[in-house]
């Protein structure tokens, strides 16, 4: 058969699908070094080989390379991978310990900062309330303890809509299990509880009882030392008494 007749069988030959007599004819042409057929088969083989490259990609296991090289008598250093794995494992372990420590540290720092922020927010709110009482119209200011031989002393500010604020100095922190309690004492009737507070380490204190106050009906603001749960009525002699002046006529 001529090369022209065989041309359309080159790819079938490359795929292993060529039938007789074309299969034997192509072999005969290749045997006698037929350049036309050799070139045609070459192109067909390239096309068919490229079809093989369309197989879904898959990665061979690493051991296959070692096995192949070993089977060809290629010497290989065997300590490389175990050593590398050991180093990698050690690195991972160190990283785990390090990051676990860091994570704990960050968590503690974060908690501390959150606490600090909470404290500052509370303090800011207290200061805003204090300024509101100080600046609001109709606030009555009362000085207490002035000229007395025993501490404490300070001032009380009473505003009919904003509430009562007391600032004291020379007021040592209440002993363990005890707390200071403020009272609004009406001109008639029982003292009304006005909140619990503790003084600071520098013996100063600022306490605010927000809310409306009937200033005209209030005789005084007082502070007693009570059990830490507080008390519905005073159980001890007052440490501070700030008597409100009679309303202006």
């Amino acid at each position: 058969m001529s090369c022209g007749e065989l041309r359309e069988h080159y790819e079938l030959y490359a795929l292993g699908l060529a039938e007789e007599p074309e299969h034997s004819e192509i072999n005969a042409h290749l045997e006698r070094r037929c350049e036309a057929c050799a070139e045609g088969i070459r192109q067909a083989l390239a096309l068919v080989a490229a079809v093989g490259a369309s197989a879904p990609s898959a990665a061979p296991p690493a051991r296959l390379r070692r096995r192949l090289l070993a089977s060809a008598g290629v010497p290989e250093r065997h300590y490389g991978w175990p050593l590398a794995w050991a180093a990698a494992a050690l690195l991972c372990l160190s990283a785990a310990v390090y990051f676990s420590g860091r994570e704990r540290q960050y968590a503690e720092e974060s908690q501390h900062l959150r606490r600090q922020l909470g404290d500052q927010t509370t303090e800011l709110r207290r200061l805003q309330e204090a300024f509101a009482i100080l600046n609001a119209p109709g606030t009555t200011e009362v000085v207490f303890g002035k000229g007395q031989p025993a501490p404490p002393n300070g001032r009380v500010f009473v505003n009919p809509t904003r509430g009562v604020m007391m600032i004291a100095s020379h007021l040592p922190p209440a002993p363990a299990g005890r707390i200071y309690e403020m009272w609004i004492i009406p001109k008639g009737g029982s003292p009304r509880p006005a909140g619990l507070f503790q003084s600071r380490g520098d013996n100063t204190a600022m306490h605010i009882e927000p809310g409306p106050v009937d200033v005209a009906a209030t005789a005084a603001v007082a502070v007693t030392l009570e059990n830490e749960a507080g008390a519905p009525q005073p159980t001890s002699q007052p440490l501070i008494v700030a008597a409100l002046p009679p309303p202006a006529r």
Binding site: E8, E11, L12, Y13, A14, L15, G16, L17, E19, H23, N27, L30, A38, I41, R42, L45, A46, L47, V48, A49, A50, V51, G52, A53, S54, A55, P56, S57, A58, A59, P60, P61, L64, R65, R67, L68, L69, S71, A72, G73, V74, P75
Partner: protein
């Protein structure tokens, strides 16, 4: 390659190991068998390297041909079919690969072929895959697909023509 040194084998495997493994695994669908056949393929090529002029010949397509032949032979023996290895091995002659582009089986070329295969009608792509990856003859394909032999032959010829045309046009780029 000609010097048949250990570095050449390592380089050959590093360059083509992945694609050869993927091809063989696609054919035999068995990892352990695929590893054995990859080893056999590379050793066969490496042992015959003296008859192959790497400067003039394309190692990649040659490797793929040897790999496919080994895998199809394994598959046919597993399925109790006539092995026909001698027929397949005819296209392993290194001289047939001289002057061929070696990287035709790598990267861009592989993508181009995948695209070309994807463009084929389903029946045409199926017969090419059955021939290439399952090593079926046209008669065996006709029996498996329940189609007349003439129809299968037409599909094969049309598929090859379409593949060639798409490849030449480089449409995948």
């Amino acid at each position: 390659m000609e010097r048949r040194d250990s570095r050449a084998l390592a380089q050959l495997y590093d360059r083509y190991g992945r694609i050869v493994y993927a091809l063989i695994l696609r054919i035999v669908r068995n990892q352990a068998a695929a590893e054995d056949l990859v080893q056999e393929t590379f050793l066969r090529v490496w042992n015959r390297a003296q008859s192959f002029d790497a400067q003039k010949g394309a190692v990649g397509p040659w490797l793929m041909t040897v790999a496919r032949n080994r895998a199809i032979d394994y598959l046919r023996s597993q399925e109790g079919r006539d092995r026909k290895l001698a027929v397949f091995e005819e296209n392993e002659d290194p001289r047939l690969y001289s002057g061929m582009e070696s990287d035709i089986v790598l990267a861009d070329e592989a993508r181009r072929v995948k695209a070309a295969m994807a463009k084929l009608p389903d029946n045409q792509r199926q017969v090419i895959e059955l021939a290439y990856f399952d090593g079926l003859s046209q008669t065996e394909m006709a029996a498996r697909l329940g189609q007349p032999l003439g129809t299968v032959k037409t599909w094969v010829r049309s598929a090859l023509a379409g593949l060639r045309k798409t490849m030449e046009a480089g449409v995948a780029e």
